[in-house]
Amino acid sequence: MLISFGVSSHQFTPTYPELSQSYMPKVLKLEMQLLNKRQDISYYELEVLDIDSNPVSFAARQKIFEVQYLKRKNIEVYIRQADKDKAYYVCSKSKILKGQNKTSPVSSKICSKIIK
């Protein structure tokens, strides 16, 4: 039997998001959802990466955003049509506030693979 105490996790779905046309021409959109079950984390950062994990430019309402403990956040990520083939992963990464932790914390990062 497995008993777990003080569980704190981070979920970022879907695993394979599909690019769709946004309301702007030549701009594509991804719709993601983040669930924060980490009590020690309130902020997450978005990243769009190519196949070699290099950053790809993108737009979002906020690139670093607050998600309260046990709350979900729907996120829209906008990528230029020209970067469609370059954008390979969309990731969310936990941000640890300086001085927040007395221990050495774990930063979690989840990357979904973009379907074109």
């Binding site: 497995l2 777990s4 569980v7 695993t15 050495s104 930063s107 979690s108 990357c111």
Partner: protein, 162 residues
Amino acid sequence: MKKLLLATALFSTTAMANVPIMGTVESKCVITTETPGIYGNPTPSVLSTDEVDGGITPVVRFDVATADYYKAVISTPDSFSTAPALEDVVNWSGDVSVSEVTVAEMAAYDTNKRVYNNTHEFDLTIAGTVWFKASSSAGYGYDKSFPAGNYNAVVEASCIAI
């Protein structure tokens, strides 16, 4: 009375048959930080998360709903996120290994892992839960004493869709 019971049974069977059951298995990865690490200070020049050195090794749990959809990438620290001013080099070492599994075959993750720099990659080829221990050790200069103060470093655990 028998007719009434039969009618009731028929009626309830019909009602139950209309209740739909639906399910979706979504391929997703959940990263759970089970234990944050603490550095022990066994000698003035060493900070280590090993239990024998008075530290606590961080433990990260990966839950994978579907096999072969994700890889776990765990990096041990190569710098402090918080530390007093340091004037000499810090020599880092670290290791990541499987500590617990829900499926016995997951023990093979350790032998199949790829290691580069301070990063350890594991293909999550089996659905279920696996716990990884990420140990870290830092030595200061050539047997120099670390200045007094608080030291924190971050283990980065990533789950990447493949």
